[in-house]
């Protein structure tokens, strides 16, 4: 090294090598996993799906940029987490929701549920779900106006004629339970196929269970989520539904109905597994999944709302710090419990 070495080298503590993982890459993987459900939502709900997705994604990203500017922090939109929140929020909205309300949902999700706590990583609750629940509670009518998929006017007319509103399967079950008549929804393998492919009324992203499972497998392969939460969650719902089905066959729907209807697949695979708001350890994730399953079925069976997935997940989000505290691994060289 003849000349006086003037270049300055980077100096830091160890380690100097890295696995190459990055938050941006993880968020990109989640977006890729959501693409199948996205395309199907366009297919089933036409312009309305396109409108809602664009409004939500753009709304979330712009809100995040504004908040970061106001807080004088670095512009954090490049980690794509706002895009993921926007997509997931859009997936939880009924097709006919006005854009203005969707924007309110974005502002609530990003500004209040996430940036107010300081940005990614600090929010205790899942932003997209807080947005959805806030909308559900503030605009109950608009949030429960459903339309049948493959509606002929979905690509031509920008606003649908009101006549074509229908109730979601879970909605019909809930009204039957409330007025304790026998539930009107029939369940054969054709309806199962429809639920699987998504040919049923509901939120634009939750309809097709198959597309969501496909996305979930991609995430599992990319190690962005682990199997613990989805399996525990869906397993608990299945067992609980089976018990109810056996106890009162006429008042309760079969297990597969509960698995494929409503927001369970979307919630269990994408919302509950949100890293920031779910427990750290595998053991904690199992407890989290079981808890979500129980709460979902309690609300579906006895609660006021037809769908309990959103409430179940944010309730379990609130318990996550306690679960983390309780499920710490045994330190190498220490007996359990001794600090």
């Amino acid at each position: 090294m003849a000349d006086q070495d003037t270049t300055q080298y980077i100096v830091s503590t160890n380690p100097h090598a890295h696995s190459g993982a990055s938050v941006q890459r993880i968020m990109l993987d989640v977006i890729i996993a959501l693409v199948p459900a996205l395309l199907l939502s366009f297919h089933y709900f036409g312009w309305h799906a396109v409108r809602l997705v664009t409004v939500c994604v753009v709304g979330c990203v712009v809100t995040e940029a504004l908040c970061r500017k106001l807080m004088g922090r670095d512009l954090g939109i490049f980690d794509l987490s706002a895009v993921v929140t926007g997509l997931l929020l859009a997936f939880n909205l009924p097709p006919s929701l006005p854009s203005g309300m969707a924007l309110v949902g974005c502002i609530f999700a990003i500004a209040i549920a996430k940036q107010l706590f300081g940005g990614i990583g600090y929010n205790p609750f899942n932003p997209a779900l807080i947005g959805r629940v806030a909308l559900l509670v503030s605009f109950p009518v608009a949030m429960t106006k459903w339309h049948a998929p493959l509606n002929a006017a979905r690509w031509t007319a920008l606003s649908w004629i009101d006549g074509t509103t229908t109730a979601t399967p879970l909605g019909a079950v809930k009204t039957a339970l409330a007025t304790n008549q026998t539930c009107p929804v029939t369940w054969g393998n054709t309806s199962m196929l429809n639920y699987l492919l998504g040919n049923m009324s509901g939120c634009i992203g939750e309809v097709s269970a198959l597309a969501l499972i496909l996305g979930g497998l991609y995430l599992l392969y990319r190690r962005c989520i682990s199997w613990h939460i989805p399996v525990a969650y869906i397993g608990t719902v299945a067992i609980f539904a089976a018990i109810l089905r056996i106890a009162q066959p006429d008042a309760n729907m079969p297990v597969l109905f509960h698995l494929l209807s409503g927001g369970l697949m979307l919630g269990a695979i994408f919302m509950a597994t949100d890293m920031v708001t779910s427990p750290l350890t595998k053991q904690g994730m199992l407890i989290f999944g079981v808890g979500c399953g129980l709460l979902t079925m309690i609300i579906r069976r006895w609660g006021g709302y037809p769908e309990g997935v959103s409430f179940a997940i944010i309730l379990m989000n609130s318990i996550t710090p306690l679960i983390n505290r309780a499920t710490r691994p045994r330190v190498f060289g220490r007996k359990r419990g001794t600090s």
Partner: protein, 292 residues
């Protein structure tokens, strides 16, 4: 409203009060816990800022220490003279009043004058930076400018300007938190009336200092010759003896190392409170400062 309804109401409520009162009196007698009244009195006198300047965990802790273990009564810096007199009167002993002291950072090597050795990439905190390869400044003794002292200062009197910490004397409440926060012990408590300082702490020889900083003390002993015993040499480093005022102010211009300065009223007005984190210049390695 005949008379007996009034009597009955008063009697009813009075009765309930009586029953509860007696129950509590009995409980208080059996479960009494001795409490020293003087400690509570002392707590009232102390300002209650819990700044820890006295070295105890808070005012309550300091009060207990004064009463039980006879701790020194002039440790409460923020309280200043009034608190000192009040404690002295309460304790019935004579109090010694001292002149107010302010913190001064004994280094002026900012990013223009003192080059960096390497691109430090890690937690933006002086102690952390000093632990990685001995700090990222060529000068081994200089201020690293990552703001450990500024974060600790309860009143935000320390500002980081171009990589060097500067204490604004008029804001300093002399609690001394910054003195222990600096990993390189550059901050000294100096009587507020003294305004001439040797802003360097490098014990290296002249040529080494010259390579490390443009405003370093090269140990030429000029100040000792000119201003007598107001300065004293500590190896190759000139240190200010603050007990003796400096008569010949000319030393400030004559110092060849340009590290002796006069800082009466600080050159630039103190900001109200440093709002944003030190801005991250592109050139420097990505600092990991917690914003907000």
């Amino acid at each position: 409203m005949d008379i007996n309804t009034i009597l009955i109401t008063a009697g009813a409520i009075g009765g309930v009060g009586l029953v509860c009162g007696t129950a509590l009196a009995l409980a208080a007698k059996f479960l009494a816990v001795k409490e020293d009244p003087r400690v509570e009195a002392m707590e009232e006198i102390l300002p209650g800022a819990n700044c820890g300047g006295c070295g105890f965990a808070g005012c309550a802790d300091y009060a207990k220490a004064i009463i039980n273990d006879g701790a020194a009564i002039n440790l409460c810096a923020p309280g200043g003279a009034e608190v000192l007199d009040a404690i002295a009167k309460a304790m019935g002993i004579e109090a010694s009043v001292e002149e107010k002291k302010v913190a001064v950072v004994m280094c002026a090597g900012d990013s223009d004058k003192a080059p960096r050795k390497h691109l430090y990439n890690g937690v933006a905190d002086c102690t952390a930076a000093a632990a990685v390869a001995g700090g990222d400044k060529v000068c081994r003794y200089g201020c690293l400018g990552y703001g450990s002292c500024a974060n600790v200062c309860p009143v935000g009197a320390i500002e980081i300007k171009k990589g060097v910490a500067i204490v604004h004397p008029e804001l300093c409440i002399s609690c001394g938190a910054c003195v222990s926060a600096c990993p390189r012990n550059l901050i000294k408590m100096v009587p507020i009336s003294r305004t001439i300082h040797v802003l360097c702490s490098s014990k290296d020889k002249g040529p080494v200092v010259k390579k490390a900083c443009q405003v370093g003390c090269i140990g030429c002993r000029m100040c000792v010759k000119l201003a007598g015993d107001a300065f004293e040499m500590d190896g190759f480093l000139a240190r200010r003896n603050y007990d003796i005022p400096v008569e010949n102010e000319g030393i400030v211009e004559k110092c060849p190392g340009k590290c002796i300065i006069k800082r009466g009223d600080s050159e630039d007005p103190a900001p109200a409170k440093p709002e944003t984190a030190p801005e991250q210049t592109e050139g420097e390695a990505s600092e990991t400062k917690r914003e907000g």
